[in-house]
């Protein structure tokens, strides 16, 4: 089974999110959406237009928005709380106390994740959010790889009764899933099996480039890898990943996030405790982000298909 990126028009996961919310508004009368002056960017605006009575414009007050969403959740509402990943995860204490430790089923949406946002620079590039959210007991941490997965994820969250964080991209993502794909929370999604020279794990913005990189490597006679999409960063599918890691002997992770605390860290933690295989973490190497075009930044951090392919080849050869 080999999936490559299809020719369908790429869609940003924030856009798929906005569409999904709007579509679910009728079915779920308790759905309430909150935004902090970014509804045009997070795409919650679509829901706001369709269901104005259930949209709360909170102004530029992320802390107050999170607390308000917690109160709504504790009284039976289904709140989606939207902002940029950097701003919303920056209100960590509110997420920790008012959401997580209160058991408030707030669905926290962090858009514009990673260096993939481009020119705005480091202050707007959520690069630590996965690490923060992962540290909270009971927090479900998700990151979809394309529009199909995003829409299914949002639907699953409607009936999920505990706190969740979803990390979305500004940039458009190529579709990697076929029609009929079923998102299963907590289960590794194998996207391609070119071979078992290594297991290449990706998430969010790096899913498309990783799938491409794997295809290039296979075509170029390079290492033949299996590609896994880690859409659920917490709870990480330790069993699923370990099983494939045993087969492949080497694991490489790639993400648009600081390698400290992100998906790669979660994978390392899971595998190290089973004393399995060597792991290489690709991603933002514990440096600040910067301004540039998204393409330039993906190039710089080796998050594009070429960079990933090079790094995979180098690391596997060097060992």
């Amino acid at each position: 089974m080999t999936t490559t990126t299809t020719t369908t028009k790429p869609v940003a996961s924030r856009e798929a999110f906005g569409n999904a919310l709007e579509a679910l508004g009728r079915e779920f009368p308790h759905l309430v959406v909150l935004d902090a002056d970014l509804s045009k960017s997070t795409m919650s605006m679509k829901f706001a237009k369709a269901y104005p009575a259930r949209f709360l414009e909170m102004g530029i007050q992320e802390a107050n928005m999170l607390g308000t969403a917690a109160g709504l959740a504790l009284c039976g509402k289904i709140p989606f709380c939207c902002s940029f990943a950097c701003f919303i995860s920056g209100r960590f204490d509110q997420i920790k106390m008012s959401v997580a430790y209160s058991g408030a089923a707030v669905r926290i949406i962090g858009t514009h994740a990673g260096v993939g946002i481009g020119e705005d620079g480091y202050s707007q590039q959520g690069l630590e959010d996965l690490g923060l959210m992962r540290s909270l007991p009971g927090m479900l941490v998700l990151q979809p790889g394309d529009d199909v997965e995003t829409e299914q994820m949002i639907r699953v969250l409607m009936t999920h009764r505990s706190p969740a964080y979803v990390r979305l991209t500004r940039q458009k993502l190529p579709r990697v899933h076929r029609d009929g794909y079923r998102f299963e929370p907590g289960k590794l999604d194998v996207l391609a099996r070119h071979g078992t020279d290594a297991l290449l794990l990706c998430t969010g913005g790096t899913v498309g480039p990783a799938v491409d990189a794997a295809a290039r490597l296979a075509q170029g006679g390079g290492p033949r890898v299996t590609v896994g999409n880690v859409h659920t960063i917490k709870p990480i599918d330790a069993d699923g990943i370990a099983a494939l890691a045993r087969e492949c002997k080497r694991v490489i992770t790639v993400e648009d996030h600081n390698v400290v605390g992100g998906m790669g860290s979660a994978v390392v933690e899971a595998l190290a405790e089973r004393h399995l295989v060597p792991v290489k973490r690709l991603g933002v190497q514990d440096v600040f982000g910067e301004s540039g075009t998204p393409e330039e930044l993906y190039r710089r951090h080796h998050l594009d298909a070429e960079g990933i392919a090079d790094d995979v080849r180098d690391w596997l050869t060097r060992r």
């Binding site: 309430v32 802390a63 107050n64 607390g67 308000t68 917690a70 109160g71 008012s98 430790y101 058991g103």
Partner: protein, 307 residues
């Protein structure tokens, strides 16, 4: 040193409170004498549980107890036998360190077994050092990092409006903050937000006891003019003596009559109110617990009052 010998307070049987049903709309016109006695019974349990725990916050618990007593007995609609009754009024204690001022009335009303009070702050107890709603019945939100409760209360109040009929909310929401706590920026985010969202079923009660850890509030970071600040944020503002049951009841009635704005009640209180030992050193008794002798001294004073 004069150490009055007092009976073990844990063996004291609390009065059988003959209260009307508590799930009817307030005010329930509970006699002031009942409120006063209930608050003092709670004070006895608070000083005992803090003495046994060996850590905790007596000053702010004593200053808030007349407020929580009035809310639970006279004002809020709730069902002690059904803590999660969906239509209940909600109380969020934003000044989480004063949580004994919730545990004691919750025990008197039957939410908790009274002997569970003596497990406060012990390993495995539902009675955490600061409120934990996932563990303890009657606690609506986890707090303890100051400044967050009013936002949560606002969200609850919004849910109450969404589930209500017309201008009638499905339930009302109360939030007790400290005064030192008002130094937190998030409080003012919520202060700006609630009138914008017209959450008239939300009442914030500021337990202004004047003290905080590093000193008096007016010296550490003064809040005045406090009423003017809330008025400027478009709240319905009332200032009362926070130990006067009649004044507090009237303020809550006025809050209920509001149909457009949230209400802010500035309750002027004394830290440690009801125990002369605590009142002598407002700042000192913020986060220090009494020794056995000191506790007995406080207990004797309260028992003397109860007669």
């Amino acid at each position: 040193m004069t150490t009055p010998t007092v009976a073990d307070i844990t063996q004291r049987k609390p009065p059988a409170w003959s209260l009307p049903p508590l799930d009817t709309p307030g005010s329930r016109a509970i006699p002031v004498d009942t409120l006063r006695r209930f608050a003092d019974e709670c004070r006895l349990d608070i000083v005992e549980m803090l003495c046994r725990a060996g850590s905790g916050h007596p000053g702010g618990s004593f200053s808030a107890i007349n407020l929580t007593t009035t809310l639970f007995l006279d004002e809020m609609r709730h069902r002690p036998h059904e803590p999660r009754w969906p239509e209940r009024d909600r109380l969020v204690l934003s000044k989480g360190h004063a949580v004994p001022s919730l545990y004691a009335p919750l025990a008197q009303l039957g939410y908790l077994r009274r002997d569970e009070l003596w497990t406060l702050r012990r390993l495995g107890s539902r009675l955490q050092g600061h409120p934990a709603n996932m563990l303890c019945p009657g606690i609506e939100a986890s707090t303890g990092s100051l400044g967050q409760g009013l936002s949560v209360a606002q969200g609850m109040a919004l849910a109450g409006l969404m589930d209500g009929k017309g201008k009638d909310p499905a339930f009302r929401v109360y939030c007790i903050t400290g005064d030192g706590e008002l130094q937190e920026g998030q409080v003012w985010e919520a202060a700006m937000s609630a009138p914008r969202h017209k959450v008239h079923n939300l009442t914030v009660i500021m337990d202004c006891n004047g003290g905080q850890i590093d000193g008096l509030v007016k010296d550490v970071l003064d809040l005045e003019p406090l009423a003017d600040k809330w008025k400027a944020f478009n709240w319905h503002v009332l200032t009362i003596d926070g130990h006067d049951f009649v004044q507090f009841r009237a303020a809550l009635q006025a809050a209920r009559a509001e149909t457009t704005r949230p209400t802010a009640i500035i309750a002027r209180t004394t830290k440690g109110h009801g125990a002369s030992l605590f009142e002598k050193d407002l700042v000192g008794w913020h986060g220090k617990t009494p020794t056995r002798d000191e506790a007995n001294q406080v207990i004797a004073e309260i028992l003397g009052r109860l007669g």
